[in-house]
Protein backbone atom coordinates (compact mmCIF):
# COMPACT_ATOMS: atom_id res chain seq x y z
CA UNK A 1 0.00 0.00 0.00
CA UNK A 2 1.47 3.34 -0.97
CA UNK A 3 0.99 6.63 0.74
CA UNK A 4 -0.91 7.82 -2.25
CA UNK A 5 -3.52 5.10 -1.70
CA UNK A 6 -3.99 6.06 1.92
CA UNK A 7 -4.28 9.75 1.19
CA UNK A 8 -6.71 9.03 -1.59
CA UNK A 9 -8.83 7.08 0.87
CA UNK A 10 -8.90 4.03 -1.39
CA UNK A 11 -6.55 1.86 0.67
CA UNK A 12 -9.10 -0.92 1.21
CA UNK A 13 -9.47 -1.61 -2.51
CA UNK A 14 -5.80 -2.18 -3.14
CA UNK A 15 -5.00 -4.70 -0.40
CA UNK A 16 -2.44 -7.11 -1.83
CA UNK A 17 -4.01 -10.46 -0.89
CA UNK A 18 -7.76 -10.55 -0.91
CA UNK A 19 -8.02 -14.07 0.52
CA UNK A 20 -6.47 -13.23 3.91
CA UNK A 21 -7.93 -9.78 4.15
CA UNK A 22 -4.54 -8.15 3.97
CA UNK A 23 -2.82 -10.22 6.65
CA UNK A 24 0.29 -12.23 5.77
CA UNK A 25 -0.20 -15.87 4.85
CA UNK A 26 0.77 -18.45 7.49
CA UNK A 27 4.38 -19.37 6.73
CA UNK A 28 4.94 -22.84 5.30
CA UNK A 29 7.87 -23.70 7.56
CA UNK A 30 5.94 -22.77 10.69
CA UNK A 31 3.05 -25.03 9.68
CA UNK A 32 5.55 -27.83 9.06
CA UNK A 33 7.18 -27.40 12.46
CA UNK A 34 3.74 -27.37 14.06
CA UNK A 35 2.95 -30.70 12.40
CA UNK A 36 6.31 -32.16 13.40
CA UNK A 37 5.84 -31.19 17.04
CA UNK A 38 2.37 -32.68 16.96
CA UNK A 39 3.66 -36.02 15.64
CA UNK A 40 6.51 -36.14 18.18
CA UNK A 41 4.10 -35.42 21.03
CA UNK A 42 1.62 -38.11 20.02
CA UNK A 43 4.41 -40.66 19.51
CA UNK A 44 5.78 -39.96 22.97
CA UNK A 45 2.30 -40.29 24.42
CA UNK A 46 1.69 -43.64 22.71
CA UNK A 47 5.08 -45.01 23.81
CA UNK A 48 4.28 -44.02 27.38
CA UNK A 49 0.89 -45.71 27.12
CA UNK A 50 2.27 -49.07 25.91
CA UNK A 51 3.50 -50.44 29.27
CA UNK A 52 0.46 -49.07 31.11
CA UNK A 53 -2.05 -50.70 28.79
CA UNK A 54 0.02 -53.89 28.64
CA UNK A 55 0.12 -54.22 32.44
CA UNK A 56 -3.56 -53.48 32.87
CA UNK A 57 -4.48 -55.89 30.06
CA UNK A 58 -2.43 -58.84 31.38
CA UNK A 59 -3.45 -58.35 35.00
CA UNK A 60 -7.13 -57.92 34.25
CA UNK A 61 -7.42 -60.75 31.72
CA UNK A 62 -5.56 -63.17 33.97
CA UNK A 63 -7.09 -62.00 37.25
CA UNK A 64 -10.69 -61.34 36.28
CA UNK A 65 -11.89 -64.95 36.31
CA UNK A 66 -10.93 -65.62 39.91
CA UNK A 67 -12.25 -62.23 41.05
CA UNK A 68 -15.66 -63.06 39.61
CA UNK A 69 -15.87 -66.08 41.92
CA UNK A 70 -17.84 -65.01 44.98
CA UNK A 71 -15.49 -66.97 47.29
CA UNK A 72 -12.76 -64.47 46.37
CA UNK A 73 -14.52 -61.73 48.37
CA UNK A 74 -15.64 -63.92 51.31
CA UNK A 75 -13.01 -66.56 52.04
CA UNK A 76 -9.40 -66.59 53.15
CA UNK A 77 -6.68 -68.98 52.00
CA UNK A 78 -6.81 -70.94 55.25
CA UNK A 79 -6.12 -74.61 54.66
CA UNK A 80 -5.75 -74.18 50.93
CA UNK A 81 -2.59 -75.41 49.25
CA UNK A 82 -1.05 -74.51 45.94
CA UNK A 83 -2.61 -77.55 44.26
CA UNK A 84 -6.15 -76.71 45.24
CA UNK A 85 -8.46 -74.32 43.45
CA UNK A 86 -10.53 -72.07 45.69
CA UNK A 87 -10.33 -69.84 48.73
CA UNK A 88 -10.38 -66.11 48.58
CA UNK A 89 -8.44 -62.96 49.25
CA UNK A 90 -10.61 -61.44 51.95
CA UNK A 91 -7.84 -61.88 54.55
CA UNK A 92 -5.41 -59.89 52.40
CA UNK A 93 -8.00 -57.24 51.40
CA UNK A 94 -8.93 -56.74 55.05
CA UNK A 95 -5.29 -56.54 56.09
CA UNK A 96 -4.54 -53.95 53.42
CA UNK A 97 -7.59 -51.85 54.37
CA UNK A 98 -6.93 -52.07 58.13
CA UNK A 99 -3.29 -51.09 57.75
CA UNK A 100 -4.19 -48.25 55.35
CA UNK A 101 -6.85 -46.94 57.73
CA UNK A 102 -4.55 -47.12 60.75
CA UNK A 103 -1.84 -45.35 58.76
CA UNK A 104 -4.24 -42.58 57.75
CA UNK A 105 -5.46 -42.13 61.34
CA UNK A 106 -1.88 -41.55 62.48
CA UNK A 107 -0.45 -39.73 59.47
CA UNK A 108 -3.25 -37.34 58.46
CA UNK A 109 -3.49 -35.28 61.68
CA UNK A 110 0.29 -34.91 61.87
CA UNK A 111 0.56 -34.04 58.18
CA UNK A 112 -2.34 -31.56 58.14
CA UNK A 113 -1.09 -29.82 61.30
CA UNK A 114 2.38 -29.60 59.81
CA UNK A 115 0.99 -28.10 56.60
CA UNK A 116 -1.09 -25.57 58.58
CA UNK A 117 2.01 -24.61 60.55
CA UNK A 118 4.10 -24.20 57.40
CA UNK A 119 1.51 -22.14 55.50
CA UNK A 120 -0.16 -20.12 58.25
CA UNK A 121 2.39 -19.68 61.01
CA UNK A 122 5.84 -20.79 59.86
CA UNK A 123 8.38 -17.98 59.62
CA UNK A 124 12.14 -18.06 59.84
CA UNK A 125 14.51 -20.87 60.63
CA UNK A 126 12.18 -23.40 62.26
CA UNK A 127 9.77 -23.34 59.30
CA UNK A 128 12.64 -23.69 56.84
CA UNK A 129 13.99 -26.66 58.80
CA UNK A 130 10.59 -28.36 58.94
CA UNK A 131 10.04 -27.80 55.22
CA UNK A 132 13.51 -29.21 54.48
CA UNK A 133 12.79 -32.26 56.64
CA UNK A 134 9.60 -32.91 54.73
CA UNK A 135 11.62 -32.76 51.51
CA UNK A 136 14.05 -35.33 52.91
CA UNK A 137 11.19 -37.54 54.05
CA UNK A 138 9.69 -37.36 50.55
CA UNK A 139 12.93 -38.73 49.14
CA UNK A 140 13.32 -41.66 51.56
CA UNK A 141 13.05 -44.99 49.73
CA UNK A 142 10.34 -47.16 51.28
CA UNK A 143 12.87 -49.91 52.06
CA UNK A 144 14.84 -47.45 54.21
CA UNK A 145 11.71 -46.43 56.11
CA UNK A 146 10.94 -50.13 56.63
CA UNK A 147 14.44 -50.96 57.87
CA UNK A 148 14.39 -47.94 60.19
CA UNK A 149 11.18 -49.15 61.82
CA UNK A 150 12.62 -52.69 61.94
CA UNK A 151 15.69 -51.34 63.74
CA UNK A 152 13.53 -49.48 66.26
CA UNK A 153 10.65 -51.93 66.68
CA UNK A 154 12.32 -55.31 66.46
CA UNK A 155 16.02 -54.80 67.10
CA UNK A 156 15.87 -52.07 69.76
CA UNK A 157 12.60 -52.80 71.57
CA UNK A 158 12.47 -56.49 70.80
CA UNK A 159 8.80 -56.47 69.74
CA UNK A 160 7.27 -58.96 67.30
CA UNK A 161 6.69 -58.18 63.63
CA UNK A 162 3.03 -57.11 63.67
CA UNK A 163 0.68 -55.06 61.54
CA UNK A 164 1.27 -52.00 63.67
CA UNK A 165 4.97 -51.98 62.81
CA UNK A 166 4.02 -51.94 59.14
CA UNK A 167 1.72 -48.96 59.67
CA UNK A 168 4.52 -47.07 61.43
CA UNK A 169 6.68 -47.41 58.33
CA UNK A 170 3.74 -46.45 56.10
CA UNK A 171 3.11 -43.37 58.27
CA UNK A 172 6.64 -42.21 57.48
CA UNK A 173 5.88 -42.57 53.78
CA UNK A 174 2.44 -41.00 53.87
CA UNK A 175 3.20 -37.88 55.94
CA UNK A 176 5.31 -36.03 53.35
CA UNK A 177 2.81 -36.74 50.56
CA UNK A 178 -0.09 -35.34 52.56
CA UNK A 179 1.93 -32.40 53.94
CA UNK A 180 2.83 -31.27 50.44
CA UNK A 181 -0.66 -31.68 48.95
CA UNK A 182 -2.30 -29.96 51.94
CA UNK A 183 0.22 -27.11 51.75
CA UNK A 184 -0.65 -26.54 48.10
CA UNK A 185 -4.36 -26.48 48.90
CA UNK A 186 -3.95 -24.05 51.81
CA UNK A 187 -1.83 -21.75 49.64
CA UNK A 188 -4.68 -21.65 47.11
CA UNK A 189 -7.00 -20.07 49.68
CA UNK A 190 -6.97 -16.36 48.80
CA UNK A 191 -5.40 -14.11 51.42
CA UNK A 192 -8.41 -11.80 51.07
CA UNK A 193 -10.54 -14.39 52.87
CA UNK A 194 -8.15 -14.44 55.82
CA UNK A 195 -8.11 -10.64 55.93
CA UNK A 196 -11.91 -10.47 55.65
CA UNK A 197 -12.13 -12.75 58.67
CA UNK A 198 -9.52 -10.81 60.70
CA UNK A 199 -11.39 -7.59 59.90
CA UNK A 200 -14.51 -9.05 61.51
CA UNK A 201 -12.57 -9.44 64.73
CA UNK A 202 -12.10 -13.19 64.38
CA UNK A 203 -8.86 -14.50 65.96
CA UNK A 204 -6.28 -16.13 63.72
CA UNK A 205 -6.75 -19.71 64.96
CA UNK A 206 -10.49 -19.47 64.44
CA UNK A 207 -9.97 -17.98 60.98
CA UNK A 208 -7.86 -21.02 60.10
CA UNK A 209 -10.28 -23.52 61.63
CA UNK A 210 -13.51 -22.00 60.30
CA UNK A 211 -12.54 -20.22 57.08
CA UNK A 212 -9.24 -21.46 55.66
CA UNK A 213 -9.50 -25.21 56.26
CA UNK A 214 -13.17 -25.48 55.18
CA UNK A 215 -12.34 -23.60 51.97
CA UNK A 216 -9.49 -26.00 51.24
CA UNK A 217 -11.28 -29.05 52.65
CA UNK A 218 -12.12 -30.99 49.50
CA UNK A 219 -8.59 -30.44 48.20
CA UNK A 220 -7.14 -31.74 51.46
CA UNK A 221 -9.35 -34.85 51.31
CA UNK A 222 -8.32 -35.47 47.70
CA UNK A 223 -4.67 -35.27 48.78
CA UNK A 224 -5.31 -37.73 51.61
CA UNK A 225 -7.02 -40.22 49.28
CA UNK A 226 -4.21 -39.99 46.73
CA UNK A 227 -1.68 -40.44 49.55
CA UNK A 228 -3.60 -43.51 50.72
CA UNK A 229 -3.62 -44.92 47.20
CA UNK A 230 0.14 -44.51 47.14
CA UNK A 231 0.86 -46.31 50.41
CA UNK A 232 -1.60 -49.14 49.76
CA UNK A 233 0.57 -50.30 46.89
CA UNK A 234 3.73 -50.00 48.98
CA UNK A 235 5.53 -53.32 49.37
CA UNK A 236 8.92 -53.05 51.06
CA UNK A 237 7.59 -52.32 54.58
CA UNK A 238 5.16 -55.24 54.22
CA UNK A 239 7.87 -57.68 53.20
CA UNK A 240 10.16 -56.68 56.03
CA UNK A 241 7.70 -56.00 58.83
CA UNK A 242 4.54 -57.89 57.95
CA UNK A 243 5.12 -61.37 56.54
CA UNK A 244 2.25 -63.16 54.85
CA UNK A 245 -0.19 -65.49 56.53
CA UNK A 246 -3.13 -67.33 55.04
CA UNK A 247 -5.67 -66.60 57.74
CA UNK A 248 -7.76 -63.60 58.57
CA UNK A 249 -6.09 -61.33 61.10
CA UNK A 250 -7.71 -58.12 62.34
CA UNK A 251 -5.51 -57.35 65.35
CA UNK A 252 -2.82 -54.80 64.49
CA UNK A 253 -0.81 -55.79 67.57
CA UNK A 254 -1.31 -59.55 67.56
CA UNK A 255 0.77 -61.49 65.11
CA UNK A 256 1.10 -61.47 61.37
CA UNK A 257 -1.28 -59.55 59.15
CA UNK A 258 -1.68 -60.61 55.51
CA UNK A 259 -1.96 -57.98 52.78
CA UNK A 260 -2.44 -58.03 49.03
CA UNK A 261 1.18 -57.17 48.16
CA UNK A 262 2.51 -59.94 50.44
CA UNK A 263 -0.07 -62.35 49.04
CA UNK A 264 1.27 -61.59 45.56
CA UNK A 265 4.84 -62.00 46.75
CA UNK A 266 4.10 -65.27 48.53
CA UNK A 267 3.03 -67.19 45.45
CA UNK A 268 4.91 -65.36 42.72
CA UNK A 269 7.39 -68.21 42.20
CA UNK A 270 4.66 -70.84 42.01
CA UNK A 271 4.22 -72.88 38.83
CA UNK A 272 0.99 -74.64 39.74
CA UNK A 273 -2.03 -73.06 38.07
CA UNK A 274 -4.32 -72.56 41.11
CA UNK A 275 -1.63 -70.55 42.91
CA UNK A 276 -0.69 -68.62 39.76
CA UNK A 277 -4.31 -67.60 39.24
CA UNK A 278 -4.49 -66.34 42.79
CA UNK A 279 -1.41 -64.15 42.23
CA UNK A 280 -3.03 -62.51 39.21
CA UNK A 281 -6.29 -62.16 41.11
CA UNK A 282 -4.58 -60.44 44.04
CA UNK A 283 -2.76 -58.08 41.67
CA UNK A 284 -5.98 -57.17 39.86
CA UNK A 285 -7.76 -56.65 43.19
CA UNK A 286 -5.03 -54.29 44.42
CA UNK A 287 -5.12 -52.29 41.19
CA UNK A 288 -8.91 -52.07 41.42
CA UNK A 289 -8.81 -50.81 45.01
CA UNK A 290 -6.24 -48.14 44.19
CA UNK A 291 -8.19 -47.14 41.11
CA UNK A 292 -11.33 -46.72 43.20
CA UNK A 293 -9.45 -44.54 45.68
CA UNK A 294 -8.14 -42.38 42.86
CA UNK A 295 -11.61 -41.98 41.41
CA UNK A 296 -12.98 -41.15 44.86
CA UNK A 297 -10.27 -38.52 45.27
CA UNK A 298 -11.18 -36.90 41.98
CA UNK A 299 -14.90 -37.00 42.76
CA UNK A 300 -14.36 -35.30 46.11
CA UNK A 301 -12.35 -32.53 44.50
CA UNK A 302 -14.99 -32.01 41.84
CA UNK A 303 -18.02 -32.13 44.16
CA UNK A 304 -16.35 -30.08 46.85
CA UNK A 305 -15.28 -27.20 44.61
CA UNK A 306 -16.95 -23.97 45.79
CA UNK A 307 -20.34 -23.64 44.10
CA UNK A 308 -21.56 -20.54 42.38
Amino acid sequence: MTTADVTAGSGLKTMPRESTGGFDHKSGSRALRDQLARVVMWTAFLIAMVPLVWILWSVITKGAAIMLDSHWWTNSQRGITNRVVGGGAVHAIEGTLIEALATAIMAVPIAVMTAIYLVEYGRGRLAKTVSFMVDILTGIPSIVAALFIYAVWVTTFGFQRVGFAVTLALVLLMIPVVVRSTEEMLKLVPNELREASYALGVPKWKTIAKIVVPTAFSGIITGVLLGLARIMGETAPLLILGPYTKTIATDLFGGLMPTLPTMINQDRTEVLQPAVDRVWGAAATLILMILLLNIAGRLVSRLGAPKT
Binding site: Y198, A199, I211, T308
Partner: protein, 258 residues
Protein backbone atom coordinates in the same frame (compact mmCIF):
# COMPACT_ATOMS: atom_id res chain seq x y z
CA UNK B 1 -21.91 4.79 68.81
CA UNK B 2 -19.63 6.27 66.15
CA UNK B 3 -16.22 7.22 67.42
CA UNK B 4 -13.65 9.88 66.67
CA UNK B 5 -10.20 8.87 65.41
CA UNK B 6 -7.12 10.83 66.44
CA UNK B 7 -3.92 9.99 64.59
CA UNK B 8 -0.77 11.54 66.01
CA UNK B 9 2.77 11.55 64.56
CA UNK B 10 2.15 8.22 62.87
CA UNK B 11 4.87 6.58 60.77
CA UNK B 12 4.27 3.21 59.16
CA UNK B 13 6.93 0.69 58.18
CA UNK B 14 7.27 -2.44 56.05
CA UNK B 15 10.36 -3.92 57.68
CA UNK B 16 13.05 -1.25 57.28
CA UNK B 17 11.09 0.66 54.62
CA UNK B 18 9.19 3.70 55.85
CA UNK B 19 5.96 3.83 53.82
CA UNK B 20 4.19 6.70 55.57
CA UNK B 21 5.71 9.50 57.63
CA UNK B 22 4.41 11.77 60.37
CA UNK B 23 0.69 11.73 59.78
CA UNK B 24 -1.41 13.71 62.24
CA UNK B 25 -5.13 13.98 61.61
CA UNK B 26 -8.54 13.84 63.20
CA UNK B 27 -11.48 11.95 61.75
CA UNK B 28 -14.83 13.21 63.04
CA UNK B 29 -17.57 10.79 64.07
CA UNK B 30 -20.63 10.36 61.82
CA UNK B 31 -18.87 11.74 58.80
CA UNK B 32 -17.23 10.40 55.67
CA UNK B 33 -13.53 11.07 55.31
CA UNK B 34 -11.86 10.33 51.97
CA UNK B 35 -8.16 9.66 51.42
CA UNK B 36 -6.95 10.54 47.94
CA UNK B 37 -3.52 10.62 46.31
CA UNK B 38 -1.38 8.93 43.68
CA UNK B 39 -0.57 5.20 43.82
CA UNK B 40 2.01 4.25 46.44
CA UNK B 41 1.41 7.34 48.60
CA UNK B 42 0.40 5.17 51.56
CA UNK B 43 -3.31 5.94 51.83
CA UNK B 44 -4.34 2.25 51.89
CA UNK B 45 -1.48 1.49 54.26
CA UNK B 46 -2.68 4.21 56.63
CA UNK B 47 -6.23 2.89 56.41
CA UNK B 48 -5.04 -0.59 57.40
CA UNK B 49 -3.32 0.78 60.52
CA UNK B 50 -6.66 2.15 61.76
CA UNK B 51 -7.85 -1.39 62.59
CA UNK B 52 -4.43 -2.94 63.12
CA UNK B 53 -4.57 -4.93 59.89
CA UNK B 54 -1.20 -3.56 58.78
CA UNK B 55 0.68 -5.72 61.29
CA UNK B 56 -0.76 -8.88 59.72
CA UNK B 57 1.84 -8.40 56.97
CA UNK B 58 5.26 -9.77 58.02
CA UNK B 59 7.48 -6.85 59.03
CA UNK B 60 4.58 -4.41 59.29
CA UNK B 61 4.82 -2.00 62.28
CA UNK B 62 3.95 1.55 63.27
CA UNK B 63 5.34 4.40 65.38
CA UNK B 64 3.15 7.09 66.87
CA UNK B 65 -0.35 6.74 68.22
CA UNK B 66 -3.95 6.30 67.14
CA UNK B 67 -6.76 7.01 69.59
CA UNK B 68 -10.36 5.92 69.21
CA UNK B 69 -12.12 8.52 71.35
CA UNK B 70 -9.81 8.22 74.37
CA UNK B 71 -8.52 4.68 73.91
CA UNK B 72 -5.08 4.12 72.40
CA UNK B 73 -5.58 1.25 69.93
CA UNK B 74 -1.83 0.58 69.91
CA UNK B 75 -1.70 0.48 73.72
CA UNK B 76 0.58 -2.16 75.23
CA UNK B 77 -2.13 -4.59 76.34
CA UNK B 78 -4.74 -3.91 73.64
CA UNK B 79 -5.81 -7.01 71.73
CA UNK B 80 -5.78 -6.31 67.96
CA UNK B 81 -8.73 -8.71 67.61
CA UNK B 82 -10.81 -6.46 69.89
CA UNK B 83 -9.81 -3.39 67.85
CA UNK B 84 -11.00 -5.08 64.66
CA UNK B 85 -14.37 -5.82 66.23
CA UNK B 86 -14.76 -2.08 66.78
CA UNK B 87 -13.30 -0.94 63.47
CA UNK B 88 -14.72 -2.89 60.53
CA UNK B 89 -13.31 -3.01 57.03
CA UNK B 90 -14.52 -3.44 53.45
CA UNK B 91 -11.92 -4.43 50.87
CA UNK B 92 -11.14 -3.48 47.30
CA UNK B 93 -12.33 -6.76 45.80
CA UNK B 94 -15.54 -8.28 47.12
CA UNK B 95 -14.51 -11.31 49.17
CA UNK B 96 -17.50 -13.29 50.45
CA UNK B 97 -16.58 -16.59 52.11
CA UNK B 98 -17.00 -19.20 49.34
CA UNK B 99 -17.99 -22.03 51.67
CA UNK B 100 -20.87 -20.09 53.20
CA UNK B 101 -24.37 -19.11 52.08
CA UNK B 102 -25.45 -15.48 51.73
CA UNK B 103 -27.06 -15.56 55.18
CA UNK B 104 -24.09 -17.29 56.80
CA UNK B 105 -21.72 -14.75 55.25
CA UNK B 106 -23.58 -11.92 56.95
CA UNK B 107 -23.66 -13.67 60.32
CA UNK B 108 -20.09 -15.02 60.02
CA UNK B 109 -18.55 -12.39 62.30
CA UNK B 110 -21.15 -13.01 65.00
CA UNK B 111 -21.11 -16.80 64.74
CA UNK B 112 -17.32 -17.02 64.72
CA UNK B 113 -17.29 -14.86 67.84
CA UNK B 114 -19.50 -17.34 69.65
CA UNK B 115 -23.08 -16.12 69.20
CA UNK B 116 -25.34 -19.15 68.73
CA UNK B 117 -28.89 -17.82 69.22
CA UNK B 118 -30.48 -18.67 65.85
CA UNK B 119 -33.31 -16.16 66.17
CA UNK B 120 -31.04 -13.29 67.11
CA UNK B 121 -28.72 -14.19 64.23
CA UNK B 122 -31.58 -14.25 61.71
CA UNK B 123 -32.75 -10.84 62.89
CA UNK B 124 -29.25 -9.46 62.63
CA UNK B 125 -28.86 -10.89 59.11
CA UNK B 126 -32.04 -9.19 57.97
CA UNK B 127 -31.21 -5.88 59.64
CA UNK B 128 -27.68 -5.84 58.20
CA UNK B 129 -28.84 -6.76 54.70
CA UNK B 130 -31.50 -4.04 54.90
CA UNK B 131 -28.89 -1.48 55.97
CA UNK B 132 -26.76 -2.58 53.02
CA UNK B 133 -29.72 -2.16 50.61
CA UNK B 134 -29.44 -5.80 49.63
CA UNK B 135 -32.34 -7.42 51.51
CA UNK B 136 -34.91 -7.20 48.72
CA UNK B 137 -32.51 -8.72 46.19
CA UNK B 138 -31.44 -11.73 48.29
CA UNK B 139 -34.25 -12.39 50.81
CA UNK B 140 -35.45 -15.40 48.78
CA UNK B 141 -32.06 -16.97 48.41
CA UNK B 142 -30.32 -16.58 51.75
CA UNK B 143 -29.36 -20.26 51.53
CA UNK B 144 -27.55 -19.90 48.20
CA UNK B 145 -23.77 -19.39 48.01
CA UNK B 146 -22.61 -15.77 48.15
CA UNK B 147 -20.38 -16.27 45.12
CA UNK B 148 -23.47 -16.46 42.89
CA UNK B 149 -24.21 -12.75 43.33
CA UNK B 150 -23.00 -10.03 40.96
CA UNK B 151 -19.87 -8.07 41.86
CA UNK B 152 -21.84 -5.10 43.16
CA UNK B 153 -24.16 -7.33 45.19
CA UNK B 154 -21.15 -9.19 46.59
CA UNK B 155 -19.62 -5.89 47.71
CA UNK B 156 -22.86 -4.88 49.44
CA UNK B 157 -22.91 -8.36 51.01
CA UNK B 158 -19.40 -7.65 52.35
CA UNK B 159 -20.63 -4.31 53.73
CA UNK B 160 -23.56 -6.11 55.39
CA UNK B 161 -21.11 -8.63 56.84
CA UNK B 162 -18.93 -5.81 58.18
CA UNK B 163 -21.79 -3.89 59.83
CA UNK B 164 -23.38 -7.05 61.29
CA UNK B 165 -20.77 -7.06 64.06
CA UNK B 166 -21.81 -3.48 64.96
CA UNK B 167 -18.51 -1.68 64.54
CA UNK B 168 -18.09 1.99 65.48
CA UNK B 169 -15.95 2.80 62.49
CA UNK B 170 -16.12 1.46 58.94
CA UNK B 171 -13.00 1.51 56.76
CA UNK B 172 -13.38 1.12 53.00
CA UNK B 173 -10.38 0.43 50.80
CA UNK B 174 -11.35 1.46 47.25
CA UNK B 175 -14.70 -0.34 47.64
CA UNK B 176 -15.90 0.53 44.12
CA UNK B 177 -12.78 0.09 42.04
CA UNK B 178 -13.84 -3.39 40.86
CA UNK B 179 -17.45 -2.37 40.17
CA UNK B 180 -19.45 -0.94 37.27
CA UNK B 181 -20.97 2.59 37.47
CA UNK B 182 -24.45 1.39 38.52
CA UNK B 183 -23.10 -0.72 41.38
CA UNK B 184 -20.78 2.14 42.31
CA UNK B 185 -23.76 4.46 42.57
CA UNK B 186 -25.56 1.94 44.81
CA UNK B 187 -22.56 1.75 47.14
CA UNK B 188 -22.14 5.54 47.20
CA UNK B 189 -25.80 5.98 48.15
CA UNK B 190 -25.27 3.38 50.84
CA UNK B 191 -22.23 5.25 52.20
CA UNK B 192 -24.39 8.37 52.43
CA UNK B 193 -26.95 6.46 54.53
CA UNK B 194 -24.42 4.69 56.72
CA UNK B 195 -22.67 7.88 57.81
CA UNK B 196 -25.52 8.74 60.11
CA UNK B 197 -24.52 5.74 62.21
CA UNK B 198 -20.84 5.14 61.59
CA UNK B 199 -17.58 6.95 61.21
CA UNK B 200 -16.52 6.14 57.67
CA UNK B 201 -13.07 6.39 56.15
CA UNK B 202 -12.80 5.64 52.45
CA UNK B 203 -9.73 5.33 50.23
CA UNK B 204 -10.45 6.09 46.60
CA UNK B 205 -8.63 6.68 43.35
CA UNK B 206 -11.69 8.35 41.94
CA UNK B 207 -11.68 12.05 42.79
CA UNK B 208 -15.27 12.57 41.67
CA UNK B 209 -16.22 9.85 44.13
CA UNK B 210 -14.34 11.59 46.92
CA UNK B 211 -16.09 14.85 46.01
CA UNK B 212 -19.50 13.13 45.92
CA UNK B 213 -19.44 11.08 49.11
CA UNK B 214 -17.08 12.69 51.58
CA UNK B 215 -17.34 15.50 54.08
CA UNK B 216 -13.60 15.84 54.57
CA UNK B 217 -10.75 14.88 52.28
CA UNK B 218 -7.13 14.13 53.01
CA UNK B 219 -4.61 14.40 50.18
CA UNK B 220 -1.48 12.23 50.36
CA UNK B 221 1.61 12.47 48.22
CA UNK B 222 5.17 11.22 48.15
CA UNK B 223 8.25 13.25 47.24
CA UNK B 224 9.63 10.52 44.96
CA UNK B 225 9.40 6.76 44.47
CA UNK B 226 10.95 5.04 47.48
CA UNK B 227 10.31 8.05 49.74
CA UNK B 228 7.62 7.79 52.44
CA UNK B 229 4.14 9.16 51.75
CA UNK B 230 2.91 12.18 53.69
CA UNK B 231 -0.39 13.84 54.42
CA UNK B 232 -0.14 17.04 52.38
CA UNK B 233 -3.42 18.62 53.32
CA UNK B 234 -6.70 17.77 54.97
CA UNK B 235 -9.78 19.95 54.94
CA UNK B 236 -13.47 20.09 54.16
CA UNK B 237 -14.09 18.38 50.84
CA UNK B 238 -15.76 21.50 49.48
CA UNK B 239 -12.66 23.56 50.17
CA UNK B 240 -10.22 20.87 49.01
CA UNK B 241 -11.84 20.68 45.60
CA UNK B 242 -12.46 24.40 45.11
CA UNK B 243 -9.72 26.25 46.90
CA UNK B 244 -7.01 24.01 48.38
CA UNK B 245 -4.23 25.61 50.41
CA UNK B 246 -1.40 23.59 48.92
CA UNK B 247 -0.20 23.91 45.36
CA UNK B 248 0.34 20.12 44.90
CA UNK B 249 -3.24 19.41 46.01
CA UNK B 250 -4.54 21.73 43.33
CA UNK B 251 -2.23 20.17 40.74
CA UNK B 252 -3.40 16.67 41.63
CA UNK B 253 -7.10 17.50 41.77
CA UNK B 254 -6.98 19.36 38.49
CA UNK B 255 -5.30 16.35 36.88
CA UNK B 256 -1.84 17.83 36.33
CA UNK B 257 -0.17 14.71 37.77
CA UNK B 258 -0.99 11.37 39.34
Amino acid sequence: MAKRIDVKDLSIFYGAFKAVEDVTMTVEPRSVTAFIGPSGCGKSTLLRTLNRMHEVIPGGRVEGSIHLDDADIYGADVDPVAVRRTVGMVFQRPNPFPTMTIGDNVSAGLRLNGIKDKKALAQKVEASLRSANLWNEVKDRLNKPGAGLSGGQQQRLCIARAIAVEPQVLLMDEPCSALDPISTLAIEDLIGELKSTYTIVIVTHNMQQAARVSDRTGFFNLAATGKPGRLIEMDDTQKMFSNPTERTTEDYISGRFG
